[in-house]
Every structure is written in structure tokens, then in C-alpha cells.
Amino acid sequence: MIHTEGLTKTFQRGKQLVHAVKGVDLDVAPGELVAFLGPNGAGKSTTLRMLTTLLSPSSGSARVAGADVRTQPALVRRRIGYIGQGNGAGHNYRVIDELRAQGSFHRLAPAVSRERAAELLRALQLNGLEKRPVMSLSGGQRRRLDVAMGLMNHPPLLFLDEPSTGMDPQGRANLWEHIIRMRDDLGMTLVLTTHYLEEADDMAERVIVIDHGTVIADDSPGRLKLDHADDVITLTFGAVDEADVAKRALRADQRYADRFEERAGEAVVLATDHGARQLPGILHLLEAAGARPEAAAIREATLDDVFLNLTGRSLREDDTPDAAEDGSAAARTANTTDGADAA
């Protein structure tokens, strides 16, 4: 569905060259749900914008839905759906007018356009709002309308740029429920960018971690966490002596010898794969040594741990969308602004 080779984007910013995306090689198969994850300015939105033909690559190639982004941009746009970060529907227009306009932009016959608009309004729980001006809709309704517009041409491939930014958790869950159902109904491939770790973890089947314009990891969220991060088990004992007994027992076992933190106090902290699966064995080992914890807690590995282990930085340090890469729609049309992407 997507194939890129050496996809590169360089911006001229004053006298300086900014390398926003550095030779991305990528293959996305039909039906996948892929998330680009990375800090602000990593190059994920710039990559998405090249794939949707909103930006032209500086070098390299990309085929999207069977068409070349350089030589057949209109064909790419015909075959994809795109839901940008801003509101795609004009605020002064009526809901139904925007849906039908989107249909006509994709050259759907008026009857087909009417039928699809009605079908999407129903599916996205927007029925009854047809004649309302877009500006009168709630944030969640507007976002669902954006999804409806992105699906008017029944695209086999849908791009979503930060689809749930600014939404509350309930609204986000509701939006995703709709997106996933529409994906199942239409058999779509989904490619999204997100700075929400939980969103990438929960929704994506494949996460492509981008940093400084380069793909640094690419796998399922589970596999990434298994390969690049550990679950953390914290055992709390009633007394320091008992905790020391536990530490001695763990130190003596080669499976755990280098997996726990040497720290004083009643708590013993272990980092391990499959924490929930390992815990009964650890408890059994400690019990045999005469140490019985009063409490045990597992913190499962997160994609932030993955990023931290790969780069030495946390994604959470800067988890709000900034104007440099993901800012206003106006800024996103500017070459200078995109140039700030990797700055």
C-alpha cells in the first residue's frame, strides 16, 4: 500500500539547511494500522505530508496506493483519505454541504454523494445535524465530521494527522471506536501520527518510532516493549531485613541477578520481561528464602520506556503538539514552518 525508498525532506531555513526527514524506507501492507510516534519535530508529520502529497520530497521516492507521489500526485490524492490536525470542514458551511462538496471534489455522482453522506452521518452519529453550520458543532462532532469527509471517497488508505489532539479521553475513545468500525467496514489501511503514547499503544498494530528524521524502531507495540523495555515489579516488605533477604535470594539466582536495583529500604525493584508471568515464580523463590512481601505491584513497559531506552530521552518531556511540526493549519502550509520541523 505504501512503499518508500530514501524519502528525504530538506528545508532551507535562512542560510541553514534543515534535514527534517532523512532517508526513510518504509513498507506498509494493505489493512495495517500504523502509527508514527515521535517527539515534536521528529519528522513524523513531514513524512505524512509527503505521503499525502501536501509536501514534495527533496529526494527519494514514494508510492502510495499504487501511485507515485512525485509524478502522480492527483492520483494519490484521489486514492487516499486525509484527516488533518485542524478542522477540515469550513466553519461557515453546513454539515451536509461540506460532505456533498467533498463528494464532488472526488467526482462522485450526486446520487452516490447523497447516499454516502447519509450513510456516514448515520455511522458517525451525526444524523440530525445535517443542516447545522459547522461552527455550531461540538469539538467531538466536528472531529467526527472530519472523519466522515475523509471517508466520502471510500479510500483504501486513510491518513490521520494527530486525530484526537485536544479531545478529552471519552471523546477520544468514542472517535476511535468509530474509526475502527469504519476501518473494518471498508477494509482500510490506516496511517496516523500521534504524540499520545497510549493511543499508539492501544490502537496501532504497528508503531514506527521516528526521531531526528530517522526511523529508529518499527514493530508491534508489544514487540517493541519486549525488545526495548521491561516491566517493573516492585515488592514491598515489612522490614528492611526481610528485604535484604529477598535481595540476597534474587542476587543468587542468575535469572534475576542483574535485574533488580540495588537500593536500601523495604522495597525491592526488578525490571523484567513479562512481569505478570514472572511474578509467581519470583514470589515462590522469595518464599523459599524466607521473605514474603506485603505488597507486589507491576508497572507494565510503555512505549515511552522504549523511546527512553532507544534515545535516552522521554517522549513525555514534550508531549504537547507544537507549531514547529504539528501546529496550526496555516503554519502547516508554510515551507518555512515545515522547515522548522527538525529544528
Partner: protein, 275 residues
């Protein structure tokens, strides 16, 4: 891509292809329809926009006759001389504002969605300019009809050709306004500063409001390089009932050149914004 979606996509690719011109026309119609629906759903602004040129005509034309004493306006009455000028003026103001609506859409994200659609770039420019131009057709016809009882001889066919000529010119001007909006994105004040700084000198140096014949030599020289001068002169000839004249021809050439130049600049600006 599964077989069903491939089939669908291929069918969609073939739909409405009909050659480049066919696609351009169909895309332009789609953009124009989206834009004009908003105007039609708000008749108050349409009615108000009709009143403005009427007020201008009623309050300015009588002053003109007294002020210039007929110098430079040939055999025409002040009203006959001024009427085509007012129509050119509303065309310049209307299509020159094409970019202002775009600025708002760039802020909300709506413009980006349109760029991500398969519409041709030229059709986006043309459709939007035509939306600004469409009310002019109604305005021009209404003020011409209102002027008839006041002594203006109606030449309907000539008026329609004059409106067509303004439409061609307006597409070019609208595309330039669109390009200006992209170039000044995020700085609305700059759009208006540049737009106003150019519009008024162009209007005054076209002889639209006052005859240039009574002005100094340098003004007449500068006016010869102003495409609007040729448009205004052609409109006056047409409204006086003349088709076959070199003035009308030069007006048509100026309109065509503005249209071609405006679209070229507009398309180039959209493409540059994707670099």
C-alpha cells in the same frame, strides 16, 4: 488493497476523466458550488452587496458631471461614463478579496483538506474567484437596469460581453489575491495592507473614478502600463453599444493576460508552498 477497493479506486479514476479541460471544468464547478452555496444561504449579504454600488452610483455620478464639466468623458453623460467604472470597481473589490476568505480557511484546516483532495490547483483558484465574481453579474445587471430610467441607454448584449470580459479579468485578479493570501499566511494585516496599497492606485490610475484626460502627463503615462485602464476603457465602449473597436480588443487582451498571468502566479504559489 483488496480486490474490491482496487476495483472501486480504478472505477473512480476513470470516472469523469474526460480530458484535462473536462476535469478542470468539473473541478471548478465543484469548488464554485461549495463556495456559492454559502452566499445563497445568506441572502442578506447578497442584498446588501446590491445596495452598495447603487448608493455609490447615486451619490458619486452627479458630483462627477459638475466637477469635470464634461471634460474627458466624451459624448457620454456623467452617469453613462461612470456606470461601467462602478461595475469594474465592484469586480476589483470583489475578486481582490478572494484571498481573504482563504486566510480564514488556512487557519482552521479547511484549506489543507482541499489541497489533499484531487482537485486541480487551477480549478481551486478559478472556482473561488468565480464565487467572488458571481454576485457581480447580478449587481451589474441591477444597476444597469436602475440606470435606464435615469437616461442610460441599455445595450444588453454589450453589457453581457462586458461582464464576461470582467469575469476573465476577475479570475486572474482572484488568483493573484489567492497567491497573496498564501504568501502572507498567518499575517492577515499584511494581506490587507498589500491588497489596499495596490487596489486604490490601480483604480485611480485606470481612469475609473475620474477621467485621466484632465490629469497630468505622468499619470496618463503610468496609466498606459495599467491593465485596468484597458479594461475600463473597453467596458465604457461596450456600455455605449460599441463592439467593433480596438479599445474593446485591447480590453480583451488585458483581461486575457491578467487571467493567464494570475493563474500562473497562483498555481506556482500553491506548488511552492508544498516545497
Amino acid at each position: 488493497m483488496n480486490a474490491q477497493t482496487i476495483e472501486h479506486v480504478h472505477a473512480a479514476d476513470e470516472d469523469g476523466t474526460g480530458g484535462r479541460i473536462g476535469r478542470f471544468l468539473s473541478d471548478t464547478r465543484a469548488v464554485f458550488t461549495r463556495e456559492i452555496v454559502v452566499v445563497l444561504r445568506d441572502p442578506f449579504s447578497l442584498v446588501f452587496s446590491l445596495l452598495q454600488p447603487l448608493v455609490f452610483l447615486a451619490l458619486f455620478a452627479p458630483l462627477l458631471g459638475g466637477m469635470v464639466g464634461g471634460d474627458g468623458i466624451g459624448d457620454a453623460s456623467a452617469l453613462e461614463w461612470f456606470l461601467p467604472g462602478v461595475i469594474v470597481m465592484i469586480c476589483v473589490f470583489g475578486t481582490g478579496m478572494t484571498g481573504s476568505n482563504l486566510q480564514y480557511e488556512m487557519q482552521t484546516g479547511s484549506y489543507e483538506r482541499i489541497l489533499a483532495s484531487p482537485l486541480s490547483r487551477a480549478s481551486i483558484l478559478t472556482g473561488r474567484a468565480l464565487k467572488e465574481f458571481a454576485p457581480l453579474v447580478v449587481q451589474a445587471l441591477v444597476i444597469t437596469l436602475v440606470a435606464v430610467p435615469l437616461g442610460v441607454t441599455p445595450h444588453l448584449a454589450h453589457v453581457l460581453v462586458g461582464i464576461l470580459l470582467l469575469g476573465v479579468f476577475g479570475i486572474g485578479l482572484g488568483a493573484l489575491s489567492y497567491a497573496l493570501a498564501i504568501a502572507t499566511r498567518g499575517k492577515e494585516w499584511m494581506f490587507w495592507t498589500v491588497q489596499q496599497s495596490l487596489t486604490f492606485p490601480l483604480l485611480l490610475l485606470s481612469g475609473m473614478m475620474l477621467p485621466l484626460e484632465t490629469g497630468p502627463d505622468w499619470m496618463r503615462t503610468v496609466a498606459r502600463f495599467n491593465p485596468l485602464t484597458y479594461i475600463v476603457d473597453a467596458e465604457r465602449e461596450l456600455f455605449m453599444g460599441t463592439f467593433a473597436s480596438s479599445t474593446v480588443l485591447w480590453g480583451a487582451v488585458a483581461a486575457a493576460l491578467t487571467c493567464a498571468g494570475g493563474l500562473a502566479v497562483g498555481i506556482r504559489t500553491i506548488r511552492r508552498s508544498a516545497r
